[in-house]
């Protein structure tokens, strides 16, 4: 098929592997910003979720977060952040900032909700038994509650990662760089090789991330725990 030839041609062209529009650069851009957003979201959402879940407080916040996350189309979120960013600083509205902020905002809820649910699901009897045996509170959190909540926590991180990669890709339309840019440029220049090269790269990155997270889950979660029911 002509399309396959065009795509592989584009992917294999050494010229496309150099410079600021080159594959390594865009890939690094995409991964780095995804990673950074995920990290920031996790630093805020994970401890908050763990703390709230342990105390059993503010469950309405969790429910609202779940709903909000489901109902917010990332396209709309990035879109709406543009006027917001513009209002703050007109020169930034059409650069990568709306996308990055959207990534952080959209990564937050899955991490928060799953941290809450994961910790809240730990059997209180076990915690009391541990306390009765002489474990200190911090030992209980780190040695018992978190390992038991890990399957659910990991699912949350994985959902957030998938979400972030997709949002970053979308950002290619809105002035963010990354792999999504190839799709946009390919479309503008009627260069099918570039467009589908971008598609292939994005899909590969997404699937690779999924695989990496699944692998990490498999290694980190104790074999003594049943597999988390959510995919």
């Amino acid at each position: 098929m002509d399309l396959a030839a065009q795509t592989s041609g584009w992917l294999l062209d050494p010229g496309n592997w150099q410079g600021p529009n080159g594959i390594p650069y865009r890939l690094a851009e995409h991964v780095a910003l995804c990673g950074a957003s995920l990290l920031i979201a996790a630093i805020v959402a994970m401890p908050l979720g763990l703390w709230l879940g342990r105390a059993g407080r503010l469950s309405w916040l969790i429910v609202s977060s779940t709903n909000a996350w489901r109902a917010l189309p990332s396209f709309a979120v990035i879109g709406l952040l543009i006027p917001v960013t513009t209002a703050i600083d007109p020169s930034l509205g059409f650069t990568l900032y709306p996308t990055v902020v959207a990534m952080i905002l959209l990564a937050g809820p899955p991490i928060l909700v799953n941290a809450y649910e994961g910790i809240a699901a730990v059997d209180r009897d076990l915690v009391e038994a541990a306390r009765g045996m002489g474990m200190r509170e911090r030992q209980i959190l780190l040695g018992l509650e978190i390992p038991l909540a890990l399957p659910v926590l990991a699912t949350g991180m994985r959902s957030a990662a998938v979400q972030v990669i997709a949002t970053a890709t979308l950002g290619g339309t809105f002035g963010f760089g990354g792999l999504g840019r190839y799709i946009v440029l390919g479309d503008a220049n009627h260069d099918n090789g570039e467009l589908f090269g971008g598609v292939v790269l994005v899909a590969a990155l997404a699937l690779a991330t999924l695989a990496v997270f699944r692998l990490a889950e498999w290694r980190l979660v104790s074999p003594g725990l049943a597999r988390s029911p959510a995919t």
Binding site: D123, G132, M133, G134, M135, G224, A226
Partner: protein, 341 residues
């Protein structure tokens, strides 16, 4: 299996006018009211009573999961409130009804929980785990690397006991540990536990709602009633023969006479001389409980049965009357070994 020197620690326990009130003072459920009793080292004391009588609360007062409003809980004469709480808890073995094995750790790591918290060297932990698994009747090689989710209820209970014994505690607290298994497994676990206790002689505070279990397991029984009050404290024989109140009498049941018979065995029975040995006369080994012997005699076609001694030779004749007399002789029979050893 001989008791090892590492397993001889046991402390005495005393409750001195201990009360626990929640907010609105008085007789709320779970409250404890002026509880006083003493358990010598090495004895099993069973806290028994209906739901809400405060028995589990009393248990938790010992390892300070709950703290008393007034009164003192003394371990070897020392008030538990004066000790550092985490260090105290690591010296106390704690077994709860659902066992509470950590699902994400192997059996070996579970058993080694407290030794690990106390910083024992790895090799010592390993050795102790093997010793304990053997003690509770499980093959270390087979069980050490398994996970709790792969085990049956009975196996989990045993590991729970092993875990509680791991750091050679001064006292064991057990909250309905055998309630979650079916009756056949429960009886086996009770027997094995009693056998274990004969070897290691720990001081044990055991909570149950089942009066039969209390009689079976306890050297001393504390019957509690609603409102967290102590209704009676004494040996199983005392509770059954001389219930201190209507409540206790009702709680132990109308058949307390029969229950007392399960405290005595054929070995201690005064037997009549054996006149004639007829066919079909049931035979009783020395360890047969009088209650079971009575039950068999009541449906036998002969007038009596044969008591055997340890070597299997006939010792004399057992009759229903003889058993009834044993019951009537208040407390002069050996019965259970009294707690002051």
């Amino acid at each position: 299996m001989r008791a090892r020197p590492s397993d001889t620690r046991a402390a005495s326990l005393e409750f001195r006018h201990v009360s626990k009130r929640y907010d609105r003072g008085g007789d709320g459920p779970g409250a404890v009211n002026d509880l006083s009793f003493a358990v010598p080292a090495g004895a099993i004391c069973v806290l028994v009573g209906p739901s809400g009588c405060g028995k589990t609360t009393s248990l938790k007062l010992v390892n300070r999961l709950i703290e008393p409003t007034s009164g003192q809980v003394l371990l070897d004469g020392v008030d538990v409130m004066t000790q550092e709480v985490t260090a105290l808890r690591r010296r106390i073995g704690y077994v709860i009804q659902s066992v509470g094995l950590f699902p994400h750790l192997t059996v070996g790591r579970n058993v080694a929980t407290v030794p690990s918290l106390m910083g024992w060297p790895a090799r010592q932990q390993q050795a102790r785990v093997e010793e304990l698994l053997g003690l509770v009747g499980l093959d270390p090689a087979r069980y050490r690397d398994r996970y709790p989710s792969q085990l049956s209820g009975g196996e989990r209970q045993r590991i729970g006991v092993a875990r509680a014994l791991a750091a050679d505690p001064l006292i064991m607290l057990m909250d309905e540990p055998f309630a979650a298994v079916d009756p056949i497994v429960r009886e086996r676990l009770q027997d094995e536990f009693l056998r274990l206790q004969r070897e290691i002689s720990k001081t044990i505070l055991f909570v149950t709602h089942d009066i039969d279990e209390a009689i079976r397991m306890g050297d001393l029984i504390a019957v509690m009633e609603q409102g967290g009050r102590l209704a009676q404290f004494g040996t199983p024989r005392d509770i059954l023969a001389e219930p201190a109140s209507d409540f206790v009498a009702r709680f132990v049941g109308e058949d307390r006479g029969l229950k007392r018979l399960s405290l005595q065995t054929v070995a201690n029975l005064r037997v009549e001389p054996l006149e004639r040995r007829l066919d079909g006369m049931p035979e009783f080994g020395p360890a047969t409980k009088l209650r079971d012997a009575l039950s068999i005699l009541l449906v036998a076609e002969t007038r009596g049965g044969i008591a055997l001694d340890e070597t299997g030779r006939p010792r004399g004749m057992v009759t229903v009357d003889a058993i009834a007399s044993a019951l009537a002789e208040d407390g002069t029979g050996p019965g259970r070994v009294p707690a002051d050893r």
